[in-house]
Amino acid sequence: MKFYIKKIITLIITLLIVSFLTFLAFDLISGDPAISKLGTQATPEKVEALREEMGLNDPLPVRYARWISGFVTGDLGESYSYHLPVGQMLLEKLPVTLTMMGMSFIMILLLGIPLGILCARHENGIVDHILSVLNQIAMSIPPFFLGVLLTFLFGLVFKLFTPGGYVSYQDSAAGFLGYLILPSFAIALPKSAMTVKLLRSSVLGQLRLDYVKTARSRGNTQNGVLYRHVLRNACIPVLTFLGMALADMLASSIIIEQVFGIPGLGRMLVGSISGRDYPVVQAIITFLAAFVVIVNFLVDMGYRWLDPRVRLGGSGNE
């Protein structure tokens, strides 16, 4: 219990440090919000009055405290270019990106785990060799290029979907999910390949351990041992990898949204970077950072929960 409290405190401190660093960075570069609001022709008195009103003359820690409490309560300021509250904009885009990530996560599980087991069962067989070559190639395809290829194949050659014909989830849930299949697949394929590779070597490693021989000698079938004992142990490193892969998937989804014209978080981020819309960029970057830190924390916790050796051994550090 003491351990968990310590971990949670570390998590909160990490989140504060990360958010402070992003705040500081954007505070240094974004110039004077008062001028960008009034325009460069405003008189110095007017600018000074607005600065005072917006609280820009307060010391840095005070401004950070105000910003972070705003962030937690959902008040993220106003976009320079859209003049809409950033919080509202984020809330609109977030479900799109999260749905896509969820779909690709399911695809990784559906593709990666059965194929990984298949490879391990037929170690050095033809299936294993063919899959390992395909794997090596799949791991090397950048998700955005895979997206372009999929658009070409399914959109233009087979005409199974309309490129750029995004359907909002507010209009039709089925159309929305249907449009997200290919983008999710583009994110999922390279990660599935890594899952196959990792699960294969993990299962093979477990099969060489003594407990497998013991279980076999007690009359269990090879498959029985594989599915009842080996798989559970072999999945631990895979699950850790999948947790870590979430951050990568978030990164890929930013690009994939651009490829398929999906109005999610990533598209908003890229548009705002080019348009120097700092409040939006700052909010999204802070959100992404918090997401990565929290996912990492959960992976760490999940790992402890799954693997009793780590939980009981107490060797927490290295």
């Binding site: 990490t14 440090i17 990360v18 992003t22 960075a25 954007f26 570069i29 050095n124 090596q136 190639i137 791991m139 090397s140 395809i141 950048p142 955005f144 290029f145 372009v148 290829l149 658009t151 070409f152 233009l156 870590m244 951050a247 990568d248 978030l250 990164a251 930013i254 690009i255 651009q258 490829v259 981020l269 890229v270 970077i273 080019s274 960029v281 970057i285 992404l288 950072a289 990565v292 830190v293 990492n296």
Partner: protein, 264 residues
């Protein structure tokens, strides 16, 4: 059997990378056409002997542009891995060898940073620094420091308790000498393997950021940017996107196989 396959991977990876390197060198001295030379009649020309990889919407030769783009991507990746790798190795060596409070602080920061994919870190730096090639190089170099520091630190922690280090200490060798003459060569395989992985991440991050339009800017040819420009003409001229993409895949494949082979 397993060992053979690993060696095969390594050799194949080296062959692919050598071919890529030759193409980069070729592109440095000679391209069939000027990479920016527009040629109206050849607009969207299909791949042929005249244009090995076809031509784009301005009639520019894709092969020439691919050669130049490969050079840009390779150069950026090389520079960023070199800067990030050297700095990271230095940080990892110092913290791993001496330990102490500085080690504790730096590794805490490192733990946070390694959790971020390098593309995401570079994206954060670019969003702060602004788009462009120089900023891209700076962003990626910084983004690569933590992973190198972590790996090298682990190696130094392992080796600093070894007998040969102790005996060197008894001989009166200085800390710097022990770190760089005695320990570093032992850590080299791990560093090289990380460098190959880092190179892959650099290629991927550069291509992705340029695809998004916030990496390498127009006068320079870039594989990522070529794919993004070609997306609009995907149906009429798929070769404009396919060849740059295949080059990126080959580059990543080659280095991925090398790093696989280097792993102990």
């Amino acid at each position: 059997m397993k060992k053979d396959r690993r060696n095969l991977n390594f050799i194949l990876g080296c062959v692919i990378c050598a071919v890529m390197l030759l193409l980069v060198i070729l592109g440095f001295f000679y391209t069939p056409y000027g990479p920016d030379a527009m040629n109206g009649p050849d607009k969207f020309a299909a791949p042929s002997l005249r244009h090995l990889m076809g031509a784009d919407q301005f009639g520019r030769d894709i092969f020439s542009r691919v050669l130049k783009g490969l050079g840009t991507t390779g150069w950026i990746s090389l520079v960023t891995v070199a800067i990030g790798g050297l700095t990271g190795t230095l940080v990892g060596a110092l913290t791993g060898y001496y330990g102490g409070i500085l080690d504790e602080i730096l590794m805490r920061i490192n733990d946070i940073l390694t959790a971020f994919p390098s593309f995401l870190l570079a994206l954060v730096f670019i969003s702060v620094l602004g788009p462009g090639k120089g900023n891209l190089i700076m962003a990626l170099s910084i983004a690569f420091i933590p992973s190198f520091a972590r790996v090298v630190r682990g190696e130094f922690l392992l080796y600093r308790e070894r007998d040969y280090v102790k005996s060197a200490k008894l001989w009166g060798a200085s800390g710097i000498r022990i770190m760089f003459i005695h320990i570093l060569p032992n850590a080299l395989p791990v560093i090289l393997s990380s460098a190959a992985i880092g190179f892959n991440n650099a290629v991927l991050a550069e291509a992705s950021l340029s695809y998004l339009g916030i990496g390498v800017q127009p006068p320079d040819a870039s594989l990522g940017r070529m794919i993004s420009e070609a997306s609009a003409y995907l149906f009429s001229a798929p070769w404009c996107a396919v060849f740059p993409g295949v080059m990126i895949i080959l580059l990543i494949l080659g280095f991925g196989m090398i790093s696989d082979g280097l792993k102990r």
